[in-house]
C-alpha cells in the first residue's frame, strides 16, 4: 500500500495565499469519494521557503493580490519544479488584467519559463473523468467580477512530457470553496476536475 496522498497548499510571503480555505477539504473529499486512492483526511500548509515543500509533489497556490516570491521561495520552487513537482496555480480574481494573474505569470516565467496554452485534448482532461471540451467552466467566470470571460484553456509549463506548472484563470478557488457536505445540492459535482488533477499528479 503506497503512502496516502496529502493535499498541500503553498504559503508564500506576499499576497493572500489562504484566500480559499475550503478547497483542500473539498478536493480531499472528492478524491476519497470517487477513487480508491489512499488520502490523508487533512491537508497541510507548506511555506514555499521551507525544505518541507519537497515532501509534497503536488502544490496548490492561489490568491487575489500581487505575488512576489522571495529569493528563498524562488530557489525552493525552482528546485521543486526541476525535480518533478507539480504546482497548480489558480487565479482567484479570474481576471486576466488582474494583479495576481500578471504577477504570478511573471514569477513563473522567472522561475521556470513561460506559460503556454495547454491543449484541451491533454490527458489531464481524461485521466479519470472525461472533459471533452477541456477545463470545465466555473459558475464564477461570468459573475460580473473579474474579466467576465470564459477562459477556454488552461496554461502550463511542460517539461519532459509532464506538466510542471498548471495555471488557471477560471477561479476554481471560488468554485471549490464550499463545505463538502453541500455537494448533495449539486446535480453535477463541480470538483470532479480536481480529482483529475490529483490523479494526473500521482500517475504522470
Amino acid at each position: 500500500m503506497s503512502a496516502p496522498f496529502v493535499f498541500a497548499t503553498a504559503q508564500y510571503e506576499s499576497g493572500d495565499w489562504d484566500s480559499a480555505p475550503m478547497v483542500p477539504a473539498n478536493i480531499i473529499d472528492s478524491v476519497a469519494r470517487y477513487t480508491q486512492l489512499p488520502v490523508r483526511p487533512q491537508g497541510v500548509i507548506v511555506p514555499l521557503s521551507s525544505d518541507a515543500t519537497w515532501q509534497y509533489p503536488l502544490l496548490y497556490l492561489t490568491g487575489h493580490l500581487p505575488v512576489r516570491f522571495t529569493a528563498r521561495e524562488t530557489e525552493v520552487l525552482r528546485k521543486y519544479l526541476d525535480r518533478g513537482g507539480l504546482l497548480f496555480i489558480d487565479d482567484h480574481n479570474h481576471d486576466v488584467d488582474g494583479a495576481f494573474n500578471k504577477t504570478a505569470r511573471e514569477e513563473i516565467r522567472r522561475v521556470i519559463g513561460p506559460l503556454v496554452p495547454l491543449p484541451n485534448t491533454h490527458e489531464l482532461y481524461r485521466c479519470f473523468f472525461v472533459f471533452d471540451n477541456g477545463p470545465p467552466t466555473t459558475s464564477h467566470e461570468m459573475n460580473g467580477w473579474g474579466d467576465n470571460l470564459v477562459h477556454e484553456q488552461l496554461d502550463a509549463v511542460v517539461k519532459d512530457g509532464r506538466i510542471r506548472v498548471l495555471f488557471s484563470n477560471k477561479d476554481y478557488s471560488s468554485e471549490w470553496s464550499f463545505h463538502p457536505d453541500n455537494k448533495r445540492f449539486l446535480s453535477v459535482d463541480n470538483t470532479r476536475f480536481g480529482v483529475n488533477l490529483v490523479v494526473y499528479a500521482l500517475t504522470r
Binding site: S2, P57, Y80, C127, G161, T203
Partner: protein
C-alpha cells in the same frame, strides 16, 4: 658545346632507365612459379590489390604445373610436390576461396606467411539499454599488440573515418565508444577486421506494476528520462485505471523487464513464466512482501529498517530511505551493498537467476524522496539507480554479430582468419622469420600503378631519349 652536353645527358638517362626497367622486371618475376626440390613454390607477392582477382592466373598455372609434375612423378614412381604458397599479402576474397578449393581437392598445400599481417580478433558488446556505450576489444593471434620500433599503429575506423589509433596497446586493446556507424573496422598493418555494431536502440519496453502514488510516478519518470519506453496500468478506482504508454500482454518479445513496486495482487504464474523465458523482474520495496512471488524472491524479508534523518543530503543518500532487511539465499548474488548500522553491510541490490531470466530485489521504500528531498545530484542518482537495476535484471548484452553482415562474401570481415580457416595455419618457419614484424603495404591502399607498368614506361622513356640523341647528332652532321 650545349648539343654535346644534351646528347650525353640523353645517353646517361636512357641507360639508367633501361637498368631500372631490368631490375623492375626481375622483381616482378617474383610473382611466379619455381621448382625447389620436391616443393612447387608459388610466390604471390605484394603486387596484388586487396580485392582484385590478381594472383588467380599465377595460382592457375601453379596448379596446372603441379598436376603435370605429379603425373610425371607418378610415372617415375616418385611422390608428388608440395604446393608451397608464399603470400606477400592477405589474399583477396576470390583468391582465398580458390586456395580453399585447391586444398579441398587434395593437393598438399602449405603457405608461408610473408604478409606481415596479424590475425586480428575483435568483439563488440553493448548493454541492452538505450544509449549504452559500445565496448570494443581487439586482440591478435600472436597475442600482444606491442609498441615496437616500426610497428604499425592499431587504427580504429567507422564509416565516418578514423576514430582513434593506438601505438602502445598492450595485450588487448579496448575502446569504449559513445556512438559509431553500423560497422567498425580495426586495422593493424595489413590485417583488418570488421565487426558490426549491435543497435542498442532496439530495446524492448518495461512494464511497471504499481499503485498510483509518488513512487510509481517518479520511478516511471526516472526510467523514461533514462531512455526506456515504459508501459503500465495504475488502478485508481474499482472501475477506472490510468494507463502509461500502451500496455499489452506480458511477453518477452515485447518487454525486457517488469518492475513491481507495491504490495499488490499480481499474476504470479504469468510473472514466473515471463522470468523463466528470459525476462527480467525488479521487485522494489513492498513488492518483496508479495506472498505469491515468494518463489522468485532472493531471500527472506524480515523487518522494515527505519530511515536515518538527514541522510538523503549526505553522500550515502539511500540510508535516508526506509528499507526491508533482506537475507539473501545462497543462490542469490549481492550486486550492491549499503553501509549498515550493524557489523555487516546491508544488501541494496540482490540478483537471482530464475530459469532463463533474472530477478532483482531492491529493499527501498519511497525512493522518490531521494529524488525530491535529496541533494542537487539526487535526481540524477535516482535515475541512474533505477536504470542500473533494470539493466541488472535484463543481464545479458545484445548478441554480438562478429564479421560484417553487410559484406558480400563471408569471411571478408576478417580476411586473415578466413585464410587460416580455409588453408590452415601458416608454416611455422616463415612465422619465425617474420618475427612478428609488420610492413605497411602500399599496394593495399590501391592508389598506385602495378610495378611492371613502370618497366614499360621506363623503356619508352629510354627509347625516346635515344631517338632525341640520334636526331641531335644527325642535325649537326655527325654520324
Amino acid at each position: 658545346m650545349s648539343r654535346h652536353f644534351f646528347e650525353r645527358f640523353c645517353r646517361a638517362v636512357a641507360f639508367i632507365a633501361m637498368l631500372t626497367a631490368l631490375i623492375i622486371s626481375w622483381r616482378a618475376s617474383a610473382n611466379g612459379v619455381t621448382n625447389d626440390a620436391g616443393r612447387l613454390v608459388v610466390a604471390i607477392a605484394d603486387s596484388l590489390a586487396v580485392d582484385s582477382l590478381e594472383g588467380m592466373p599465377v595460382l592457375r598455372s601453379a596448379v596446372v604445373k603441379y598436376a603435370s609434375g605429379r603425373a610425371e612423378a607418378a610415372r617415375a614412381g616418385q611422390g608428388g610436390d608440395t604446393l608451397v604458397l608464399s603470400l606477400g599479402m592477405v589474399p583477396s576474397t576470390p583468391l582465398r576461396a580458390a586456395l580453399g578449393s585447391v586444398r579441398a581437392s587434395g593437393i598438399p598445400l602449405v603457405w608461408r606467411d610473408e604478409t606481415g599481417a596479424r590475425g586480428l580478433a575483435a568483439t563488440v558488446s553493448r548493454a541492452a539499454a538505450p544509449g549504452a556505450p559500445i565496448d570494443l576489444r581487439v586482440a591478435t593471434a600472436r597475442g600482444v599488440l606491442r609498441d615496437a620500433p616500426g610497428e604499425a599503429p592499431l587504427v580504429l575506423r567507422d564509416a565516418g573515418g578514423v576514430l582513434d589509433s593506438l601505438t602502445n596497446a598492450g595485450d588487448v586493446a579496448a575502446w569504449r565508444l559513445g556512438s559509431a556507424t553500423e560497422q567498425l573496422e580495426v586495422q593493424h598493418g595489413r590485417a583488418r577486421v570488421r565487426v558490426a555494431v549491435p543497435d542498442s536502440t532496439r530495446v524492448r519496453r518495461l512494464l511497471v506494476l504499481a499503485q498510483p502514488g509518488w513512487e510509481g510516478k517518479f520511478v516511471v519518470a526516472a526510467l523514461e528520462e533514462a531512455g526506456w519506453l515504459v508501459d503500465g496500468t495504475m488502478r485508481v478506482s474499482p472501475t477506472g485505471a490510468v494507463t502509461i504508454g500502451s500496455p499489452q500482454a506480458l511477453d518477452t518479445a515485447r518487454y525486457s523487464a517488469v518492475i513491481v513496486l507495491d504490495s499488490m495482487a499480481v499474476d504470479a504464474a504469468l510473472l514466473t513464466r515471463f522470468v523463466n523465458r528470459g525476462g527480467g523482474v525488479v521487485l522494489g520495496g513492498d513488492a518483496l512482501r508479495i506472498a505469491s512471488l515468494a518463489a522468485l524472491r532472493q531471500g527472506r524479508v524480515s523487518v522494515l529498517r527505519g530511515a536515518i534523518a538527514g541522510a538523503l543530503l549526505t553522500d550515502a543518500p539511500r540510508r535516508g530511505l526506509e528499507a526491508w532487511e533482506l537475507e539473501p539465499t545462497p543462490d542469490a548474488v549481492v550486486l550492491e551493498t549499503d553501509r549498515g548500522d550493524h557489523a555487516h553491510a546491508e544488501p541494496a541490490l540482490v540478483a537471482r537467476r530464475v530459469g532463463a531470466g533474472r530477478v532483482i530485489a531492491m529493499p527501498y521504500h519511497e525512493t522518490w524522496r531521494w529524488r525530491l528531498q535529496g541533494t542537487d545530484e539526487g535526481m540524477a542518482s535516482h535515475r541512474a539507480w533505477w536504470h542500473g537495476a533494470v539493466v541488472a535484471a535484463i543481464g545479458a548484452t545484445v548478441p554480438v554479430r562478429v564479421a560484417g553482415v553487410s559484406e558480400s562474401h563471408p569471411g571478408s570481415g576478417a580476411p586473415y582468419a578466413d585464410l587460416v580457416a580455409r588453408v590452415g595455419a601458416p608454416a611455422a618457419d616463415s612465422v619465425a622469420e617474420q618475427g612478428g614484424s609488420t610492413r605497411v603495404d602500399e599496394r593495399a591502399r590501391g592508389n598506385d600503378i602495378p610495378l611492371p607498368l613502370y618497366g614499360w614506361v621506363l623503356l619508352g622513356t629510354a627509347l625516346l631519349l635515344l631517338v632525341a640523341e640520334w636526331t641531335s647528332r644527325r642535325l649537326r652532321g655527325a654520324r
